[in-house]
């Protein structure tokens, strides 16, 4: 591929310049625009999931409430979990993977820009597919874990679970495609000099997460495929009468489900590992140990799944092994906590909004981590399992951990993405109300749980000692509604009214801050050669990085013929004027994703007995999908 685009092709780049219009978004292959799409879509689903939580908490505010029916309640808690896990936290992380990884490693895009667009469109269509049914009261109602045989035809005859099975299958493909892309990107597109041990910690944690995705999604794909076959084609995988084991689904699900927990938290860990050094004006403490502990968490994460199943009676040997592994995994996690504290220790701390969210993550995640270690012990777990104590635990790690970390990331990177700051005082209101509302919602659940309140019940009788705690939780949820509304308004308004931010508004040390905000489409006009973990601090404040390893003493010395010294780029050019080839905009990933999703949705017609329509749609969708792939793969990228 020549570095000079043929004149006839240059028009594609002109089209790129028109950054508005829905068609430009449908055809985009720019990792930053795809990251933006992920961010907006995931925030929308975050609000949907939050709304579901509000309805749940309203129903539970007082004993014997009749705000929603039992069936609606089942749909609400199922969709709340499914939405938050698959449509909010994972894609919010994906938004940062997309936006930040290429910028942090000094690349111009991801390794496969069109595959990246495909991942997003599959996610969007899958998200719509699984969310819309709730408007018609046919949403999935078997819990986010969808335990079979409860979710087989025998016990769930309606179409509800069909949407869940097919929807998760679709979303899994999106995550897998994205993971292969980011693995390749991180391995192969790092700027000269950026060794693995010089990568920013967010990129490192994302790297670990991509491997978790690649290895954890196949087991759920298979478990879902079995369920799909049972539901649509009468196989016997989960049919107890045919001799099936009721634990098969649980095992396959949690083989996926536990690594999934780390898929949700590690990106947030990565984000706060960028925020804390920046606002402490110190390099991250114990970088190597942070990397190794991340890898340890990822690896051990595959050996602890059965701790979700202590109550099913696996026997003392299995219980002991999984209990021990679970306690073991607390060690690398604890190491991270101490390293973050040590990063702040004697630093020049600036309590900005992102910093507050990052510190909140450390504190709240620690609480959730400690209750997690409590139920790593099978005897304790037998008392706690399926009670609100567990609900309290995983909201402390997922909300207190993942969501706090993601908010830290949003406040930190909003200036990079938009060129403007989020309003600081609105941000403070958001933070404090969020912090108070969160604790008021979930801390009382430790008590209602310990007093025996089971999860997933749609109402309860008075006089069991749960009334006060439930009321507190509900009040907390309404406070969260207020705080989230403040955030939404701030997010929308600051795009045009926020204070202008330059290249490096926070005085951070990594490459993404060396280029304009928002970054030009080509990211870096000249690729820098990196000589340490904080190249920008080397340039602007060498004293800060004097204590860490450099490949050569002078950051202006260049050993790689492909690169220039680390520098700040303040001017905006066009990719064309710089002679940088950019991928063409293309709608092929969009239509290929659409064809694939229609292929899956064809199966729904089988539920209503229209087998010939089902066959037509599935085969037609498959043919369109394959021809879409051919057309995509045979057209040039740039």
């Amino acid at each position: 591929m020549a570095t000079i685009a043929a004149p006839s092709l240059a028009s594609a780049e002109d089209a790129y310049a028109e950054n508005s219009g829905i068609w430009s978004w449908i055809t985009t292959t720019d990792h930053k625009r795809i990251g933006t799409l992920y961010l907006w879509t995931a925030l929308f689903f975050f609000l949907v999931g939050g709304l579901e939580a509000v309805l749940i908490r309203t129903q539970l505010a007082k004993p014997n409430m009749g705000f929603v029916s039992a069936e609606t309640y089942n749909q609400l808690f199922t969709m709340h979990g499914t939405t938050m896990v698959f449509l909010a936290i994972m894609p919010l992380s994906a938004a940062f993977f997309n936006y930040l990884i290429p910028l942090q490693i000094g690349a111009r895009d991801v390794a496969f820009p069109r595959l990246n667009a495909f991942s997003y469109w599959v996610f969007l269509f899958g998200g719509i597919f699984i969310t819309v049914p709730i408007l018609f009261q046919v949403a999935p109602n078997g819990g986010w874990f969808g335990y079979a045989p409860l979710t087989t035809n025998q016990f769930s005859a309606g179409p509800n679970i069909d949407f869940w099975v097919l929807g998760l299958q679709i979303l899994g493909i999106s995550s897998l495609a994205a993971a292969f892309n980011f693995i390749t990107t991180i391995i192969n597109l790092r700027a000269p000099g950026m060794t693995l041990m010089r990568m920013p910690m967010f990129t490192w944690m994302s790297f670990v997460v991509q491997f978790l995705l690649v290895l954890a999604f196949p087991p759920i794909t298979i478990a879902l495929f079995f369920l799909l076959m049972d539901r649509f084609f009468g196989t016997t995988f989960y049919e107890i009468a045919a001799g099936a084991d009721p634990l098969l689904w649980q095992h396959l699900f949690w083989v996926f489900g536990h690594p999934e927990v780390y898929i949700l938290i590690l990106p947030a860990f990565g984000l706060v590992s960028e925020v804390l050094p920046t606002f402490s004006k110190k390099p991250l403490f114990g970088y190597n140990v942070m990397v190794y502990s991340g890898i340890m968490i990822g690896t051990l994460g595959f050996g602890v799944w059965a701790h979700h199943m202590f109550a099913v009676g696996m026997g003392p040997v299995a219980d002991s092994i999984f209990s021990m592994m679970t306690m073991l995994i607390a060690i690398p996690t604890g190491v991270k906590i101490f390293n973050w504290i040590a990063t702040m220790w004697s630093g020049e701390i600036r309590f900005t909004v992102p910093m507050k969210f990052a510190i909140a993550l450390i504190a709240m995640f620690t609480i959730g981590g400690i209750s997690g270690v409590m139920h790593s012990s099978p005897p304790a777990d037998l008392q706690q399992t399926d009670t609100y104590f567990i609900v309290a635990h995983f909201h402390y790690v997922l909300f207190g951990g993942s969501i706090m970390g993601i908010f830290a990331g949003i406040y930190h990177y909003y200036p990079k993405m938009t060129g403007r700051f989020l309003n600081e005082s609105a941000g403070n209101w958001h933070f404090w109300l969020n912090f108070i509302g969160f604790n008021l919602t979930f801390f009382p659940m430790h008590f209602s749980g310990m007093l025996g309140m089971p999860r997933r019940i749609y109402t309860y009788d008075a006089g069991q000692g749960w009334d006060l705690f439930n009321m507190l939780s509900t009040v907390g949820t309404y406070i969260l509604v207020v705080s989230t509304s403040i955030f939404v308004v701030n997010f929308l308004r600051s795009r045009t009214r926020g204070l202008k931010a330059g290249n490096d508004p926070w005085g951070a040390g990594t490459l993404e801050w060396s280029i304009p905000s928002p970054p030009p489409d080509y990211n870096f006009a000249q690729i820098p050669e990196v000589t340490s973990r904080y190249p920008l601090w080397d340039l602007k404040d060498p004293a800060k990085t004097a204590g860490i390893a450099h490949s050569h003493a002078d950051s202006a010395t260049i050993t790689d013929a492909h690169a220039v010294p680390v520098h700040e780029e303040t001017e905006r050019h066009t990719a064309k004027s710089l002679g940088i080839p950019m991928p063409f905009p293309t709608s092929k990933p969009f239509f290929t994703a659409l064809a694939m999703v229609s292929m899956f949705s064809g199966l729904l017609f089988r539920r209503s007995g229209h087998d010939s329509i089902a066959l037509t749609v599935v085969v037609g969708g498959a043919l369109l999908f394959v021809s879409g792939l051919y057309s995509w793969l045979t057209s040039p990228l740039e």
Binding site: F112, G579, L637, E638
Partner: protein, 235 residues
Amino acid sequence: MSSHAAAAHGAHGAGHDDGHAHHHYTTTGLEHRKIAIWAFIGSECMLFASLISTYLIYKGRSIVGPFPHTEWVNEAGVVFKPILNIPVTSASTFVLLMSSLAMVLALQAVQLKDTPLPDGANWWTRAQRSSQGWLLMTALLGMTFLGFQAFEFASFVHEGLTIKTNLFGSTFYTLTGFHGAHVTAGVLWLFTLLFIDRKRGLGPKDELIVDIAALYWHFVDVVWIAIFTLVYLIQ
């Protein structure tokens, strides 16, 4: 190739001198797609691990027959013989192994395309240069394997084992069917390469696209090596 490739050349690179200008810079010097296919293969390991685990977990748990390795008599006194046909599957296993051999030779033929043949090269040396021949042979052997599988499925159904019959039927057809679907995708991929080869000729510059197809094909073969032992031979 990716946009990054030019990462290095970027601002100055346009129209630059070097014969390497077309060669995109990557950190490791390796091709993106080759890294991606290996990551994909790693993921496929977990996919087939889940399928194989389920097959083994449910092994011997079916309540009604037919069974893979043992005879079964139903309530009406009808005798169902052990259903697995080892001779036929041994033949199809051999066919798939040979397709891997043909595939690796196809890749070699593409790599050697521009290397001049030594004088008086024997038939084998010359045969090794035929990328189209080896690609076609790989695809045909793959189709033969699929033919064996179709025959196997049809005769099993005829003998009373469907995907709904029992746990063995469900797990067996799903596991081998997943593998068969992978072979089918591979055959389609091979015919695509063959088409390109006939249209414009595949040479050393195309090594990558043949290499990734070959890696996929061999992986599908090694999965069958595991399935053959775990499903067919172990009783």
